[in-house]
């Protein structure tokens, strides 16, 4: 099957996104977002609006510890959208525990392609319905 250049560009965007999470690269991650991107974490009611608010949240909370390589992502698909199985290590060198399922929305124009929404369902047990285990050793 032929891969169109649009698919290629989307795959590249998703690879950069995954890589940014796994290497604690906040700038690299924020660069991929649309200026008015949104981010939510159901079941919490809270959600963030705009690239800079998301940057502040990532800095203070998601990557807020001294720890490196906190996050590990595996690409999947949910609701016919790109998605990731998300794991988090709670301590340095500890194993990764299921964190939830992250679904992203991509917005493209002829020249640009950005992420316009990140919804992270922070329900660890959801990973099992995607065929993934609750815990991963390093």
């Amino acid at each position: 099957m032929q891969v169109s250049s649009a698919d290629k560009a989307t795959n590249e965007l998703l690879m950069r996104y995954m890589n940014a999470w796994e290497t604690d690269d906040i700038d690299g991650l924020v660069e991929l977002l649309k200026e008015d991107a949104t981010m939510s974490m159901p079941p919490s009611l809270s959600w963030l609006w705009g690239r800079e608010a998301i940057r502040a949240f990532l800095t203070s909370t998601a990557f807020g510890t001294e720890m490196q390589h906190t996050w590990q992502l595996y690409a999947t698909g949910a609701n016919a959208q790109p998605a990731f199985i998300v794991y988090r290590a709670n301590e340095p060198h500890s194993s990764y525990h299921a964190f939830g399922i992250q679904v992203v929305t991509i917005e493209s124009s002829t020249t640009t392609r950005h992420i316009s929404d990140i919804t992270t369902f922070t329900v660890p047990s959801l990973v099992t319905s995607f065929g993934f285990p609750l815990e991963l050793s390093r």
Partner: protein, 194 residues
């Protein structure tokens, strides 16, 4: 089709109708008819309800209703259509009783990133994700697969949830979908300002 199916009932080629000649009360034969449709009914209920767990409950409910009214299937054009209409009505009944499932941006303003994250509400009020593999497994042909994939995006599910069924049981699933698709065309996610 297994030998058991053939003995128990057939689709008549001439009339296209399903003619069950099962002995009512034989639950093993009943299950052998219904089981092949379980996964696709689960996806159908998910599209209406936005939660796999809720959908699982409604598939059970559909099976019970089908079992109770198996006699009504006689002469019905298709077993599949009959099951879908039962499932749709069961889901619409549920939707009338509970608030719609949506996503956080639909119900509250955005937070200041320096404030702590809010706790989860006690009630389950959010849409939940469905693995794409479910959509592939439960679909019989590429055309249906395309429309099924298109109609599970979160934007579409949100519209569907916010459209409340108002016409009672007479509201067919077809009307429901057509209404949702029409509304999706004029709907764009509100861009709330912080």
């Amino acid at each position: 089709m297994t030998e058991q199916h053939i003995k128990a009932g057939t689709h008549s080629r001439e009339s296209g109708r399903f003619d069950p000649i099962v002995t009512l009360g034989d639950s093993a034969i009943f299950s052998s008819f219904i089981e092949p449709y379980r996964r696709e009914l689960h996806v159908h209920c998910y599209r209406l309800l936005g939660s796999l767990q809720d959908a699982e409950d409604l598939v059970q409910e559909t099976m019970i209703r089908a079992w109770q009214h198996f006699e009504a299937l006689k002469g019905y054009a298709s077993l599949r259509n009959w099951l879908y209409s039962i499932a749709t009505n069961a889901c619409l009944d549920t939707l009338k009783r509970r608030r719609p499932r949506t996503l956080p941006a639909e119900v509250s303003p955005p937070i200041n990133p320096n404030t702590p994250i809010a706790q989860a509400p006690a009630e389950s009020i959010w849409l939940e994700p469905i693995p794409d593999i479910w959509l592939l497994e439960s679909t019989e042909n590429p055309e249906a697969r395309y429309s099924r994939r298109e109609s599970v995006s979160f934007a579409f599910l949100t519209v569907l949830q916010l459209l409340r069924p108002v016409n009672g049981p007479s509201c067919s699933s077809q009307m429901y979908w057509t209404g949702a698709q029409a509304k999706l065309r004029i709907y764009s996610r509100p861009q709330s300002q912080p």
